[in-house]
Amino acid sequence: MVRRTRALVALTLLASALAACGGDEDSGRPTLDWYNFPDDSGALQRAADRCTEASGGRYRISYRKLPRGADGQRQQLVRRLAAEDDSMDILGLDVTWAAEFAEARWIREWTGETKRRATEGTLRVPLRTATWKDRLYAVPYNTNTQLLWYRKDLVPTPPRTWSEMLNMARGLARQGKPHYVEIQGAQYEGLTVWFNTLVNSAGGSILDPGATEPSLGPPAVRAATIMRDLADSPAADPSLPNQMEDQNRLAMESGVAAFELNYPFVYPSMKANNPRLFRHFRWAPYPRVDAGRPARPTVGGNHLAVSAHSRHPDLAFEAALCLRNRENQLTAALEGGLPPTLRALYDEPAFREAYPFSEEVLAALESGSVRPLTPAYQNVSIVISHTLSPPSAIQPEKAVGTIGEQIDEALRSEGVIP
């Protein structure tokens, strides 16, 4: 008898817990669960609160933090989506996931009026990363791109091309001055981004436009050659094969480097950590491969998508649009340091003041390139970073051949990834 009572109590508790999951559904106000990267600045939570308020009681947005690492975020989303979890409504996706999630039918297409509102005034290149097979699957939330950061005390005029930069570094090395070029050389996605930027800057691309087979060719061989040349030159930081964005930042702040290819987060960090060097810390457009062709730095960032299993898709579309509206993007840019995807914000005085380099960022975004758009992006990226690591061991022709073969396998789901 006692047992049965206990079971009943447990059941009741379980039922009420389940009901709680649905938010205050009883009062007719659904809760939209927004899963996104963990933000410490408070900007995302603020956006959620504002949009909840602005909905006039039609919905409540609950911001739920995903793990810190991109792989962890993707794994959690993927597992739950594959299991048709209906407790996720708005999903924060890395720029490289839209194609994958769309092809797997985990996210809804944006159509009609919502599509019009999502694309209006949005930068073109970030929009391309949210598009798969000519359909829009997500709305760009924020974006990012790399600039060339350099030390004015060592480099009076910034280099325009890679070969100029390497020559300057060699010159500095001969004079016994700090001369390293800080770039992401570790075996991870950053290496893929570097390669992608160079291939596109050389006028090529990694995949053909239909994303059915590798394109690569001579531009890819040039890209691989540049990477190898840097690694072989005195410009290379000895820990290049293990460096990611943060190690680059630290090396630059410690004063051993003259150049750094990195995202704008290095600017406030230099200001805080090394005010003395900060006085000489300048930025310039990403170096070109050919003097006559603008560089095409890879565009990063974050999208918002609506889960295919959401119980309130219409509200979720609306809420996603609210979360990335002008006001919320400005907050995220000012507090979270994330460059916005709305073109108009680059003319906003408050933003320009916080981002002295906003013009260069905008120019880089407008001429930027996207990472290979394919559902198999993870494989493609792993294949590239694996083959090109360590950069000093690259044999350009052979490496590009290997990458081509393995991308081909990956697109047919036959490749084993390391």
């Binding site: 794994q75 994958e100 092809e103 075996q187 293990n242 494989n379 789901s413 036959e414 084993v416 390391p418």
Partner: protein, 322 residues
């Protein structure tokens, strides 16, 4: 480590004997009916366990085999199809599989060998110690009681330059976890540190099998301590050693958590389990990933089979015959 195989004691024969002095034919029929009933009861009693075992082991294994014969990529659901053994072909012809295979084999062989030697030493100490026996045994077991992931994280921090006390002992600029061989040795170190106590415990059980009189007799015959160890103790301990080796080899062959935390398989340190995990959870390729899992399963099966065949009757459960 409970023995699930133990069938109910041979109730049938016992009742058969007790009824043997009754009338012949009729008695036997009645008895076999009783025996049948008992057998049925036995089956009924273990049916829940069998069902649970099926649900948690046989079904997933079967499903993995089924998936491994498909092109089944979560990202291309529309293109799922039966492809026969093509996934196995892709895996076995991939250099990544073989790289991971040799890494796994190396880590397994070295760590199990080192553990056997150290474990034997520890077991002898624990067996011979006269005072504080309980304390010593408990202290030795501490590493084994720590969750592997937690221990692996402490190792990882310890070896991270500018963060860890062990990295501090190295020349500056050294990051041992970012190079293949140093990283492999550190993985083995973490593995040995963690599981030697387990080995020692199993060997300690084996030491208890060695009768004190035999050792004393050998001593009287003039055997040196080394001779006593090699000629008396080791042969008598053989079953325990084999059980310990088998368990540890199977365990070490599936090594995952230490590597996942220490290097996540980068720099040529990925084991087969890491390869399977990456293909399942990062590449979302259930076909290839399942093929890898099934191949690991086969490797484990081969290892177990070889142990039992090579070392014969000393396999677990067989000691009773001795």
């Amino acid at each position: 480590m409970a023995d699930p195989a133990g069938p109910p004691p041979s109730g049938g024969t016992r009742s058969g004997r007790s009824g043997g002095n009754g009338r012949k034919g009729k008695g036997r029929a009645a008895l076999s009916a009783g025996a049948k009933q008992e057998r049925r009861l036995g089956w009924l009693l273990c049916a829940p366990a069998v069902l649970v075992m099926f649900a948690v082991t046989a079904y997933p294994i079967g499903y993995a085999v089924y998936l491994s014969l498909q092109r089944y990529d979560l990202r291309f659901p529309a293109q799922a199809e039966f492809v026969g053994l093509r996934n196995y072909g892709a895996v076995l012809s991939s250099p990544y599989w073989w790289d991971a295979f040799w890494v796994t084999l190396f880590v397994t062989a070295v760590s199990v060998a080192v553990e056997l030697v150290l474990g034997m030493g520890l077991a002898l100490v624990m067996h011979r110690t006269l005072f504080l026996r309980g304390t010593i045994r408990t202290a030795v077991l501490i590493p084994y009681g720590i969750v592997t992931v937690v221990a692996a994280f402490s190792w990882q921090y310890a070896w991270t330059p500018e963060l860890g006390y062990l990295a501090e002992l190295l020349p500056s600029g050294e990051a041992p976890l970012t190079e293949q061989w140093p990283a492999l040795w550190l993985i083995i170190l973490a593995e040995v540190w963690k599981t030697t106590p387990f080995m020692a415990l199993l060997l300690l059980a084996g030491l208890a099998l060695v009768p004190e009189e035999t050792l004393k007799a050998a001593m009287v015959d003039g055997a040196t301590p080394w001779q006593r160890f090699i000629k008396v103790m080791l042969p008598l301990m053989k079953p325990a050693i084999l059980v310990a080796l088998l368990f540890r080899t199977l365990d070490a062959f599936r090594i995952f958590d230490n590597i996942y935390v220490l290097t996540s398989g980068a720099h040529g340190t990925g084991s087969l389990s890491i390869l399977g995990y990456d293909n399942l959870f990062t590449a979302l390729n259930l076909g290839i990933g399942s093929a890898i899992s099934v191949l690991i399963f086969l490797c484990v099966g081969i290892i177990a089979f070889t142990f039992v065949k090579l070392f014969g009757a000393a396999a677990p459960g067989a000691e009773v015959k001795r």
